[in-house]
C-alpha cells in the first residue's frame, strides 16, 4: 500500500507568493508610508524632533479659528441632524402620515446627490441672488442679501444633506422593532408618547449612536458646505487644509491640521466600535410582526406633525426640483431665477455634448470612478478570500486591519499624504514621481473606497454557506476551480452592487479630487466647484445643473439596482 501525499506537504505555490508580495507592497506603499511620511515631514523636518509646527499653528489665527469652527460645527450638527434624522424615520416608518411614500422619496434625495452639487443647489435658492432671497427682498427691501452665509448657512445645508445614514441605517433599525412589543405596551395602557420613548426608540438607540458619531465625523471634516456658503468668517479644518496645502510656506500647517483631524476621527471611531461591540438589541420574539403605522391620536399634534413633515419635504425637494427645471431653461431665466414656459429649451444639454471642454470632466470622472471601483473590488475580493481561507493567522489579520486604515483617516489627510510623498522619487514607488500625474488620483480613489468595500465584501464572504465549498471539494474540484465556479458566482451580485455604490460615490467626489486632480483632466467635482464659485454666471450654472441632473440619473439607476429590486438581500448591513 502506498502512502498517499499528505495534505501538509503541498509545494509552495508561486501564485500565492506573488499575491502576498503584492499585498505587502500595497499596504506599505499606499496605506502606511505616505501617512507616516506626513508626520515625518512636520515633526522631523530639521533632523530631529521639533514642535515648531505646533507653535506656528497656535500663532496662526486662521488655522486656530478653523479648528474652533469645526469643533463648534460637529456637535451642533450632530444634534440637528439627529433631530431631523429621527423625525424622518418616524414620519416615514412609524407614524401614519398621509402621503408618506412621496415624503420618503423626497427625504431620500440626499442619496442621489451630495457634496458640491447639493450645496450649489441650496445656494441657488438661498444664496445672495437666490430664488428665495429675491422673494424675501421684495418683502423686506432692506434685508442683507448675503444673509445665507456663515455658521448658520453651513449648519442648515449640512443638516439636510447629512441624513442619508439615518434614512438607510436608522430606518432599518426601525424595521426591526417587533410590533408585538408595541401592542403589549398598549395593552398595558401606555400612551403613544410613552410607547415611542420607552419601547420603540430604545431599540434604535445603538444604531442612533453609530449614525450620530458618523455625523460628528462628517461635521469635523466638512468641506464643500463651509467652502461654498461659509464665507470668510466660517471656514473649517478641511477647506483650510486645502488652502494651506497650496502655499509653499504653510504646507506644514496643512499637515498638522490633517493630523489633528485624523486623530479626532480615530478617537471617534474607537468610541463607535466600542458601541458597536456592545451589540444591538436582538428581538427575542419568535414570530415577529411588522409595524403597523401609528395614527397620532391628538388631532392638533397630528396636524402639526403633518405640517412639519411637508415643510421638511419642501426643503429637501426644492433644490432637486429647481436644478432639474432650470437645467432645461435658457441662461436668462437662470440669471433671473424666473421660470416661464417660453424659456424651456434643451440648449444646455446640447451645449454639453457639443463642447469637449464641457463633457470632458464627465468622461474623466466616469473613467476614473469605473476604474477605481473595478480595481478596489478586485483587490478586496482577493484579500477577503485570503483572509477567509486563513482565518486566525496573524499575518492575514494584519492584512485585514491594514485595509481598514483609510477608515481612520480623513480624505484630506490621505490626499495630502499621497501628494507630499510621491512628489519626489520613492524607491517603493519604483522611483516614479506621481504628483501631477493621472495615476495619483486613481490611487487616491482606490484607497478611500477600501474600507467600505472591505466591510461589505467581507460580510458577503462570511455569509457564505461553508457547505458550498465543501460540496465542491467533495466533488473533486480544486481551490481555484471552486472559487471560480462556485464561490465567485454567488458573491458576484454583491460585489457588483458594492462596485456600483463606489462608482456612484466617486463620480461626485470633490474632497480627494481637489488635491490630486490632473490640471488637464478636471474631474466633475472640481469642475462644478469652479463653475459655482460664480453664482452670477448663468452659463456656468446651466452647465452645473446639467451635470447634476445626469449624475442624479446615474445615481438613481445605481441605487435602484442595488437597493430597489432584487438587490435587497445583498446590501443590508
Amino acid at each position: 500500500m502506498t502512502r498517499p501525499v499528505s495534505l501538509q506537504k503541498r509545494p509552495i505555490s508561486w501564485g500565492k507568493v506573488l499575491i502576498m508580495v503584492f499585498f505587502t507592497w500595497f499596504v506599505l506603499a499606499c496605506l502606511v508610508l505616505p501617512n507616516l511620511n506626513l508626520i515625518r515631514q512636520v515633526f522631523f523636518s530639521e533632523g530631529g524632533l521639533t514642535i515648531k509646527p505646533f507653535q506656528k499653528l497656535l500663532k496662526s489665527k486662521r488655522a486656530m479659528k478653523a479648528l474652533r469652527n469645526s469643533f463648534v460645527l460637529a456637535p451642533t450638527l450632530s444634534l440637528t441632524v439627529g433631530l431631523v434624522g429621527i423625525s424622518l424615520v418616524l414620519i416615514t416608518e412609524y407614524f401614519d402620515i398621509k402621503g408618506s411614500a412621496v415624503l420618503r422619496l423626497g427625504y431620500m434625495t440626499t442619496l442621489i446627490y451630495g457634496g458640491v452639487t447639493l450645496v450649489s443647489g441650496y445656494k441657488f435658492i438661498y444664496g445672495d441672488s437666490g430664488v428665495l432671497t429675491q422673494l424675501l427682498i421684495q418683502l423686506f427691501p432692506n434685508m442683507n442679501i448675503k444673509w445665507f452665509q456663515g455658521y448658520g448657512a453651513v449648519l442648515f445645508v449640512m443638516t439636510f444633506s447629512c441624513t442619508s445614514n439615518h434614512m438607510i441605517f436608522l430606518r432599518n433599525a426601525m424595521r426591526t422593532v417587533d410590533f408585538q412589543t408595541v401592542e403589549a405596551a398598549r395593552n398595558m395602557g401606555a400612551s403613544q408618547w410613552r410607547i415611542l420613548t420607552r419601547v420603540v426608540l430604545p431599540v434604535m438607540l445603538p444604531s442612533l449612536f453609530a449614525v450620530t458619531i458618523l455625523t460628528f465625523i462628517t461635521g469635523l471634516s466638512a468641506m464643500s458646505a463651509p467652502m461654498m456658503v461659509g464665507g470668510t468668517n466660517f471656514q473649517t479644518i478641511n477647506p483650510m487644509i486645502k488652502d494651506f496645502a497650496n502655499t509653499q510656506t504653510s504646507k506644514d500647517l496643512a499637515i498638522i491640521l490633517a493630523l489633528i483631524l485624523g486623530l479626532a476621527t480615530m478617537l471617534l471611531i474607537l468610541v463607535m466600535s466600542r458601541i458597536e461591540k456592545r451589540g444591538h438589541y436582538m428581538s427575542v420574539s419568535k414570530a415577529k410582526t411588522k409595524i403597523v403605522k401609528q395614527k397620532i391620536n391628538n388631532p392638533v399634534v397630528n396636524v402639526l406633525v403633518h405640517i412639519y413633515a411637508y415643510a421638511l419635504f419642501i426643503i429637501y425637494v426644492m433644490p432637486v426640483v429647481l436644478i432639474i427645471l432650470f437645467s432645461f431653461t435658457d441662461s436668462k431665466s437662470i440669471a433671473l431665477r424666473q421660470l416661464s414656459f417660453s424659456s424651456f429649451t434643451l440648449e444646455n444639454y446640447k451645449y454639453l455634448i457639443e463642447s469637449l471642454s464641457n463633457y470632458k470632466p464627465f468622461v474623466v470622472s466616469i473613467v476614473y470612478s469605473a476604474l477605481a471601483a473595478l480595481i478596489v473590488g478586485s483587490i478586496v475580493v482577493i484579500a477577503c478570500r485570503l483572509i477567509q481561507k486563513n482565518r486566525g493567522k496573524k499575518i492575514f489579520t494584519t492584512l485585514e486591519y491594514s485595509m481598514m486604515i483609510p477608515w481612520l483617516l480623513p480624505t484630506t489627510m490621505i490626499a495630502l499624504g499621497l501628494m507630499m510623498t510621491f512628489n519626489v522619487k520613492q524607491p517603493y514607488m519604483f522611483n516614479q514621481v506621481l504628483t501631477g500625474t493621472l495615476l495619483i488620483l486613481l490611487i487616491g480613489y482606490v484607497i478611500v473606497k477600501l474600507p467600505f468595500t472591505m466591510r461589505m465584501t467581507k460580510a458577503a464572504f462570511f455569509g457564505l454557506d461553508d457547505a458550498l465549498e465543501d460540496a465542491s471539494k467533495n466533488l473533486g474540484a480544486g481551490e481555484l476551480y471552486t472559487f471560480r465556479r462556485v464561490i465567485f458566482p454567488v458573491l458576484l451580485p454583491t460585489v457588483m452592487a458594492i462596485a456600483a455604490l463606489n462608482f456612484n460615490g466617486l463620480l461626485q467626489d470633490y474632497d480627494m479630487s481637489a488635491f490630486l486632480y490632473h490640471p488637464l483632466n478636471k474631474t466633475l467635482g472640481v469642475q462644478i466647484k469652479s463653475l459655482t464659485d460664480d453664482m452670477g454666471n448663468p452659463n456656468g450654472l446651466a452647465l452645473t445643473f446639467v451635470y447634476a441632473v445626469l449624475m442624479m440619473i446615474i445615481s438613481s439607476v445605481v441605487l435602484y439596482f442595488v437597493y430597489g429590486r432584487g438587490g435587497k438581500d445583498n446590501m443590508k448591513e
Binding site: 500500500m1 498517499p4 457547505a467 465543501d470 460540496a471 466533488l475 473533486g476 474540484a477 480544486g478 454567488v490
Partner: protein
C-alpha cells in the same frame, strides 16, 4: 469496505473523537447516531477528508486514504442543507463533478440525464434553478450530484433535519428506496432515533466523542449496551429499589436493587394476568395521554411513577384513580 481504526481527532485542546473503530460492510446502510456535539459529524467529515485525524487510519477498500485530499477521495456527500450551488441550474449542479473530471461532453450529458432519470427528475426540472425546486426535489438533486461520479460510498449529514415532520417521513422513505435501488454503501448521520431505527442496517451510537454501542436497530433498542444508549433511544422507565425488591419477591429473579435498572414503556402491561414469569404489582392510574394510535398511562407503583403504553385496540382504557395490576417481566429489564 470502510474501516476506521483507532481514529482520534483534536480541535486545539478539545478531544473531539477518541478510539473510534468502525467497520462498514459493502452495500450497508450504516448510521451514526447521537446528540449534538457527540462527534458523529466529525467522524463523517474524517471519512470524507474535511478533517485530518491526529491518530488512526481511514481505510477504504483496503487502501489507506487517511491523508488523501478531499477532492481526490471520490466519496459522495449529501449535506445537511444540500449545499446545492445556487447560481447553477439543476443540470449544472449534477454535472459539476463530471466537469471537474473533464468527462467528454457527450458522455457527461448521457450520465447526467441517466442519473436524473434514476432519481426521477424530469428534463424540465433539469433546466431549472435549484431555488425553484421543492425540498424533496432538492434532496434528489443532492443525491444525484453525489452519485453521478460513481463514488464507492455515499455520506449523508443530517439531510432531513431542516424539514418539517411530515416531509421528513416522506423523504426518509424516498431516501431508503433510492439507497436500495443504487445498492451503494451509505453512511448516515442523524440525531433522530426514529430515523436511525427505520433506515439502518447497523447503528453506531456516539456520546462525547466515543462510540457507546454498534449494532442492529433491534440490538441497540432492546439490548442497549450502556445506560446512555438505553436513555437516548426511545422512552424508558428507570425503576427504583422498591419495585425491584417487589419483582425479586414475586419471581425467582435475583436483581440487585442498587443497580440502575430500566424497562421500556411497551414492555409493561396493565391488567394482563397470564404473562409467564412476570411480577404483578398493584398500581394506581394517575394520568393518561391519549395519542390515538396508543395511550400512555402514568402509574403509581410502589411509590414511584412509571409510564407505560397500551395499543388503542379498544380493550384497555383506564380512568384516573383506577387501581390496576401492573405486569413487569424480569426478562425485559436492562440492568447496568
Amino acid at each position: 469496505m470502510i474501516q476506521l481504526k483507532d481514529i482520534g481527532v483534536k480541535f486545539g485542546d478539545f478531544q473531539a473523537l477518541k478510539d473510534i473503530n468502525i467497520h462498514v460492510k459493502e452495500g450497508e446502510f450504516f448510521t451514526f447516531l447521537g446528540p449534538s456535539g457527540c462527534g458523529k459529524t466529525t467522524t463523517l467529515r474524517t471519512i470524507t477528508g474535511f478533517i485530518d485525524p491526529c491518530e488512526g487510519t481511514v481505510v477504504v477498500k483496503g487502501e489507506d486514504i487517511t491523508h488523501v485530499p478531499v477532492e481526490q477521495r471520490n466519496i459522495g456527500m449529501v449535506f445537511q442543507n444540500y449545499a446545492l450551488f445556487p447560481t447553477m441550474t439543476v443540470y449544472e449542479n449534477i454535472a459539476f463533478g463530471l466537469r471537474v473530471k473533464k468527462v467528454p461532453k457527450d458522455e457527461l450529458d448521457k450520465r447526467v440525464r441517466e442519473m436524473a432519470a434514476k432519481v426521477e427528475l424530469t428534463d424540465q426540472q433539469l433546466m431549472r434553478k435549484v431555488a425553484e425546486l421543492s425540498g424533496g426535489q432538492q434532496q434528489r438533486v443532492a443525491i444525484a450530484r453525489a452519485l453521478v461520479t460513481k463514488p464507492a460510498i455515499m455520506c449523508l449529514d443530517e439531510p432531513l433535519s431542516n424539514l418539517d415532520a411530515k416531509l421528513r417521513v416522506q423523504l426518509r422513505n424516498e431516501l431508503k428506496e433510492l439507497q436500495a435501488k443504487f445498492g451503494i454503501t451509505t453512511i448516515y448521520v442523524t440525531h433522530d432515533q426514529e430515523e436511525a431505527l427505520t433506515l439502518s442496517d447497523n447503528i453506531a451510537v456516539f456520546n462525547k466523542g466515543v462510540i457507546e454501542q454498534i449494532g442492529t436497530p433491534y440490538e441497540i433498542y432492546n439490548n442497549s449496551a450502556t445506560e446512555f444508549v438505553c436513555n437516548f433511544i426511545g422512552d424508558i422507565n428507570k425503576l427504583e429499589a422498591d419495585i425491584i425488591k417487589e419483582i425479586n419477591a414475586q419471581t425467582n429473579a435475583k436483581l440487585d436493587p442498587s443497580k440502575a435498572t430500566y424497562v421500556r414503556l411497551e414492555r409493561i402491561h396493565v391488567n394482563e394476568e397470564d404473562i409467564p414469569g412476570a411480577a404483578q404489582i398493584k398500581g394506581e392510574v394517575i394520568g393518561r395521554e391519549y395519542y390515538g394510535l396508543y395511550i400512555k398511562f402514568m402509574l403509581k407503583v410502589c411509590g414511584q411513577v412509571i409510564k407505560c403504553i397500551e395499543k388503542n385496540d379498544g380493550t384497555k382504557f383506564f380512568d384516573v384513580g383506577e387501581t390496576v395490576n401492573v405486569a413487569i417481566s424480569p426478562d425485559n429489564l436492562m440492568v447496568y
